[in-house]
């Protein structure tokens, strides 16, 4: 009995040492990964809301039910919320589709882009092999991109528009 306990403790100690080594390495790699994710978000937002590039706007992150993440786009001069950007996800036929969709004060879509699951801030998740090189025969006829369900794409858009009505309020087209 005592012998088992000692061997068990040794194993635990050993695992702890390995864990410590990994924590040490993580101190170096983690900031690099986070910085890259932040850059990707900035790029995507510039695509979805073109004027963001000019630097006249700031983004403010917020959470709300039904979306993965939301950003308010605030005009630096007037301090008003000009637009709202959602990272929103819907289930399609064989996969989920995650998109970043921008909606402005007039409840019109300013832009959108498809993003993979790996590009969400906060979660250092590995990009699943399946997202990139799916082994369905059909996709390889295309030059790039994956197959998405049109219903899921439409759902993303309609959700974004209806959420924006609530979150931005006011000038929405009724």
């Amino acid at each position: 009995m005592k012998k088992h306990l000692i061997t068990g403790l040794t194993l635990a100690l050993f695992a702890l040492i390995c864990g410590g080594l990994l924590a040490f390495i993580n101190m170096f790699t983690s900031p690099m990964i986070k910085a890259r994710e932040e850059k990707k978000i900035e790029e995507s937002i510039s695509i979805v809301f073109d004027a963001y590039k000019s630097g006249d706007y700031t983004k403010e992150e917020f959470n709300r039910e039904g979306v993965v993440l939301g950003y308010y786009i605030i005009n630096n001069q007037t301090n008003e919320k000009e637009a709202v950007i959602y990272i929103i996800e819907s289930q399609g036929y064989a996969s989920k589709i995650r998109m970043m969709i921008g909606v402005n004060k007039d409840n019109k879509i300013t832009g959108y882009t498809v993003i993979s699951q790996a590009e969400t801030k906060g979660d250092i998740t590995a990009h699943d092999f399946n997202m990139n090189g799916k082994s369905n025969l059909d996709e390889f006829d295309s030059l790039a991109g994956s197959t998405y369900s049109s219903k899921a794409v439409k759902k993303n858009f309609s959700l974004a528009l209806s959420y924006a009505k609530v979150d931005l309020g006011g000038n929405a087209n009724d």
Binding site: F28, T29, A126, D128, N130, N132, F140
Partner: protein, 222 residues
């Protein structure tokens, strides 16, 4: 076995994929481009070499070896998993595109039969230097096999050979000259099985032929 024989065995005589038939999962999954094969080889060789080294070191001391005997598999697994996690972290930070292409198969090196197999079969019974050589040869031998498969699949599937990121050899001209298109079937999962099956079949045919020839020689001698 001499040092030289030990170093060369992983490439042909004891090739982990083609001869020992281990590590098929990544061989089918990631061999869609030569770049993937190269990346996987580097990661894999790193893990198997260092794992062999550490496991050999642990088993050097008689007392330690006896002590960890009941939990040795668990210890080996922790060592291998730690090494794989290091590879994951470094790759995610410095080589993100490769990390995305290889995906979950980097983590799956942990349960790759080759790594644990060499640990149990060789490293636990041999000296550190020999174990390092064994790790290197198994890793590179596996890489050679992966390279062959991905070369075939990428060439037939998309007509290019991607060596590293933008460094590509574009052979689509060859296709155009023959007036055909690259056959994307080879990039699919079914294509993977087919290529591996045919390659193994060819190798088996060569092996059978050799065996027959040595048999004939023996009969003639008698």
């Amino acid at each position: 076995m001499t040092r030289k024989e030990n170093f060369l065995k992983g490439f042909f005589k004891e090739n982990p994929l083609f001869v020992l038939l281990l590590g098929c999962c990544p061989a089918l999954a990631i061999t869609t481009s030569v770049e993937n094969a190269i990346g996987m080889t580097i990661a894999f060789t790193f893990v198997v070499t260092l794992s062999n080294l550490f496991i050999s070191l642990i088993n050097l001391n008689e007392k330690i070896r006896e002590f960890i005997r009941p939990i040795r598999i668990a210890v080996y697994i922790v060592i291998i998993a730690t090494l794989v996690t290091i590879v994951e972290m470094v790759m995610e930070a410095y080589l993100p595109e490769l990390y995305n292409s290889l995906g979950v198969f980097i983590s799956l090196i942990t349960v790759n039969c080759i790594v644990l197999g060499r640990a149990e079969a060789y490293a636990s019974k041999n000296k550190p230097l020999d174990s390092i050589i064994d790790g290197i040869t198994m890793g590179l031998g596996y890489g050679l096999a992966l390279l062959i498969i991905s070369f075939i699949r990428e060439f037939l599937g998309s007509g290019t050979i991607t060596i590293w990121k933008e460094l590509k050899i574009d052979l689509t001209g060859l296709y155009k000259a023959l007036n055909i298109e690259p056959i994307s079937f080879f990039k699919s999962s079914a294509g993977a099985f087919l290529v591996l099956g045919i390659v193994l079949g060819i190798l088996q045919a060569i092996k059978n032929r050799k065996a027959r020839k040595t048999k004939e020689k023996r009969v003639v001698k008698e």
